[in-house]
């Protein structure tokens, strides 16, 4: 959610993508709250008091949530509510490893084509009915149904069928082995009964999709006033309550819809909301002036802002030119000048916080001489009168497209222009409406360089969407609609990504991803520009806040937060 807000100011569509993936996401491993206060460095000292039930937490939504149905919502705002409403099969710990939630245990068959899941007994939905294997099957089958109206069908593309063995056992049969399976099937479990009388195509019309959602999560919907707020109240019968020492603790959650970021900042300072990820430029002020009122939680973004180079078009079809641009870009200047030093340069496509990160990959320092040398190797000759390299009489001139309106992007364009000038490359910076840019220049491949952002899911399989050639194939009209807008087609990368997708042994998977990262860094199809260090501010009256790697003070752990003490 907090990721989205920020990214949303940079670009409009992409963001939601990574987000929604993450939103179904991480939950904590089963350790009682209170004694796990120091999960990360920034965590404040654990409180001496024991958590007690009570209090109200005020949170912000930048926009109206679109749906409270765990398989139909598409926005980060819907995700915030869905996360509280529903229980999922698995939780994910800080290492992004699955831990039991609705699924008590699970086992993959020898041939890696059947996943057997044992459903925990005695789980009740908030309407008092039982959650069993039928409901899990209903949820997943709805996504696979041809009439399904949501956007998640492809996450279950490897699933052949779902077999309900008995009330508490089910089997998921696969078409082919799938390593990211557990994150891909981890949807909030819907109640089959609540959708009785509604076909899959009509699912959105059921009260359970919006006005009266039925889940088995830590909170239930109390009141939703369109445009104003969503109030949720503690589910006293939450089946994980005992395991977490009586969680959830906070009696009510009030999500207020506040579209303007400056207004949200004022509301945070005024105590009207309890959590916010402010703009980088406001962090220092909040840290100094509100130290007694707000607690800061720093976290590395599980994603990055990056420049896409058009690999299918001269001169960027030449690896040496792409490498030269990477070496020539003054990323330090972007981070200090634009992002107030609240970002790092990503060494490669997989961020260091991921288990799949290859730590032999280091950040490339800026090297103007080497960049020039590479351009000369690629056949360019310096025109001394203009200071720009030329090849066959054509000056090395590139066009950079970026979405207008975001100061960060505008400043990046300016810095790119001046730092590439030093290596003899002329950059024409074009700032236009993001959607117009995507439609008219980026999707049809009529660009040299463009800037956007990408958020990763819990599994490094996200890389598939960015670098596999299938995500960069033009459609009948010549438009690339997938995320491989760099039109980067590398057989070895394709092979590695496919293998990693089907490999269950983490060591082997890591090897595949290591080689993948080294190829991407060498081929330089994109330039990783920055990975933000975000700061979440939470009102100091709230305790037990979990700072989750890559996601910060995420809503997924609100059930462990508390205000009152015994």
């Amino acid at each position: 959610m907090r990721i989205s807000r920020r990214a949303a100011s940079l670009l409009s569509l992409l963001v939601v993508a990574g987000l929604a993936l993450s939103a179904c996401g991480p939950k904590q491993d089963p350790t009682p709250p209170g004694n796990n206060g120091g999960a990360q460095n920034e965590q404040p000292a654990p409180s001496t008091g024991q958590p007690a039930v009570g209090g109200n937490l005020n949170l912000v939504l930048e926009k109206e949530p679109d749906s409270f149905n765990s398989i139909l919502y598409t926005t980060a705002y819907g995700a915030e509510i869905v996360t509280q409403l529903y229980a999922t099969l698995f939780e994910f710990n800080e290492k992004y490893e699955p831990t039991p939630y609705v699924a008590e245990s699970w086992e993959m068959s020898e041939d890696q084509l059947t996943l057997s899941i044992k459903i925990r007994e005695g789980i009740k939905f908030t309407d008092g009915t039982d959650l069993d294997a039928e409901d899990v099957a209903f949820t997943l089958e709805a996504i696979m149904h041809p009439d399904y109206t949501g956007a998640r069908a492809s996450s279950l593309r490897d699933v052949e069928s779902i077999e309900v063995v008995d009330k508490h056992n089910l089997k998921i049969h696969l078409k082919k082995p799938s390593a990211p399976l557990l994150t891909n099937i981890n949807y909030g479990i819907l109640s089959k009964e609540a959708f009785e009388g509604y076909s899959i195509a009509e699912m959105e019309k059921a009260p359970a999709s919006m006005d009266a959602p039925v889940g088995a999560g830590p909170y239930k919907l109390k009141e939703y006033v369109r445009g104003q707020y969503v109030v949720m109240e503690r589910n006293p019968d939450w089946f994980m309550s005992e395991q977490y020492g009586g969680a959830p603790f906070i009696e009510t959650l009030t999500f207020k819809i506040i579209p303007d970021s400056q207004t949200a900042l004022a509301a945070l300072q005024n105590g009207e909301i309890d959590r916010l990820t402010p703009e980088a430029s406001d962090v220092a002020m909040l840290e100094t002036q509100f130290a007694d009122k707000l607690t800061a939680y720093n976290w590395d973004r599980n994603g990055f802002g990056y420049m896409t180079l058009n690999n299918s078009k001269a001169p960027l079809d030449d690896k040496r030119v792409r490498q030269a641009l990477t070496l020539g870009l003054d990323r330090e200047a972007i981070i200090t000048g634009v992002l107030e030093d609240r970002a790092t340069i990503p060494p490669g496509p997989i961020p260091p916080i991921s288990w799949a990160y290859d730590d032999s990959i280091e950040v490339l320092e800026r090297d103007v001489e080497k960049a020039k040398q590479l351009l000369e190797e690629a056949g360019f000759v310096m025109n001394e009168s203009t200071g720009i390299y030329e090849r066959d009489g054509e000056p090395l001139k590139l066009t950079f497209f970026a979405g207008a309106g975001a100061t960060t992007t505008e400043a990046i364009g300016a810095i790119a222009r001046s730092s590439w000038k030093e290596i003899g490359v002329d950059l024409d910076v074009q700032m236009i409406d993001f959607n117009a840019m995507m439609d008219n220049y980026v999707a049809p491949g009529k660009f040299d360089v463009t800037f956007s952002a990408f958020n990763l899911g819990l599994d490094p399989d996200s890389m598939f969407n960015l670098f596999h050639s299938s995500a960069g194939q033009p459609d009948a009209n010549g438009n690339v609609l997938g995320f491989n807008r760099a039109r980067f087609y590398n057989d070895r990368v394709d092979e590695l990504l496919e293998k990693a997708r089907e490999e269950f042994d983490p060591e082997k998977r890591k090897e595949y991803y290591s080689e993948f990262q080294r190829i991407v860094v060498d081929e330089a199809p994109v330039i990783m520009v920055y990975s933000n260090v975000y700061t979440d501010f939470v009102n100091s009256r709230v305790k037990g806040v979990v700072n989750f790697p890559g996601f910060g003070a995420t809503s997924d752990y609100i059930y462990r937060w508390y205000i009152n003490e015994k």
Partner: protein, 328 residues
């Protein structure tokens, strides 16, 4: 009169037709489509042109443009404004939840604007070039010149944050405070405190025009012979101004009030965003961003229709205010 009205109403039909063409055309020209907003939930879906196509097909976005247009108009004539892609709800429901909020705010704002600007205009006309006139004129121009988002921010930081929790920075009501749970007085007080700041911003920004109109129209009337006659008769100055002059001076104000109805429901994107006021302006703004075609077309159409009705009402009101005017 009846004939005139029939003619006016019939004239509105071609105008409406042009409005539907424009609202439809503008959305068609906007790059990107609702399918991207929906599908961007999953990167995989975006990479799968088949899925994008399937969705476009289902929503009828692949049909020729003129067929889409006639389908939209046809449905509308039967009272069906289509479905919001974003909310997965009928457009009518989306608008129905936002409309009362906008009307609530703008009703009070318009009442205040008229209640303040007419007397202000009269005062500055009667005391032309006096200190009062200068102050009124300066304030009015300041209201016009200061951007509303700036005034809004000033109020949030200067007033709300220093009010010790009395005046909230944003929102429209406190969750839980409703007529069922609280007495009506506390509910009203709650709603009033949320309305306070946005109301000031709208009224401050809206005073200028009317005050200036009122001032110049009053100045003109005061030079008329019948005012001189009234004074010569020995009538008190108050009677001259408020009974004889004012009624005539209000006429031009009526002429500029045709947009009233549409501004009552139109809402303001900026004010509704800054103060988190869940009104039509915000719905329209988000619909445009989400390429939620049906919602944004409905809002455009709504404000066009209301503008037309507004001016029709003004024409009718003329007859009532000024007996000299007759339509045949």
């Amino acid at each position: 009169m009846a004939r005139y009205l029939t003619k006016r109403i019939l004239n509105m039909i071609p105008l409406l037709f042009i409005v539907t063409l424009l609202s439809f055309g503008i959305m068609q020209l906007a790059p990107g489509g609702p399918e991207y907003v929906i599908l961007s939930a999953e990167a995989d879906a975006m990479s799968d042109p088949q899925q994008v196509e399937a969705l476009r097909e289902k929503w009828g976005l692949n049909d020729p443009v003129h067929i889409q247009y006639f389908r939209w108009v046809g449905n509308m004539l039967q009272g069906d404004f289509g479905k919001s892609y974003y909310y997965r709800l009928p457009v009518k429901e989306v608008l129905a939840s936002a409309l009362p909020n906008t009307i609530r705010l703008n009703f009070f704002a318009l009442v205040l604007i008229y209640a303040i600007s007419i007397p202000l205009g009269v005062i500055s006309a009667v005391r032309q070039y006096s200190k009062t006139d200068m102050i009124v004129t300066a304030t009015a121009f300041a209201g016009q010149a200061a951007p509303s988002f700036w005034v809004a921010s000033l109020l949030i930081w200067g007033v709300a944050m220093n009010s010790g929790g009395l005046i909230p920075t944003n929102g429209i009501s406190t969750p839980g405070i409703t007529f069922e749970t609280y007495g009506w007085l506390s509910v009203l007080a709650d709603r009033a405190k949320y309305m306070f700041l946005p109301l000031i911003v709208i009224v401050f920004g809206g005073l200028t025009g009317l005050t200036r109109y009122m001032r110049s129209s009053m100045l003109e009337v005061l030079r008329e012979d019948y005012v001189r006659t009234a004074r010569a008769k020995g009538l008190a100055e108050k009677v001259v101004i408020y009974k004889h002059a004012l009624r005539n001076a209000v006429l031009p104000i009526l002429a500029v009030s045709g947009g009233l109805l549409s501004s009552l429901v139109g809402g303001s994107v900026i004010i509704e965003n800054v103060f988190s006021w869940p009104g039509i302006g915000r719905v329209a703004w988000q619909a445009v961003n989400n390429r939620d075609y049906n919602v944004s077309m409905a809002v455009m159409l709504l404000s066009a229709v209301l503008t037309m009705i507004g001016y029709l009402l003004v024409d009718i009101a003329y007859v009532w205010v000024d007996p000299r005017i007759k339509y045949d």
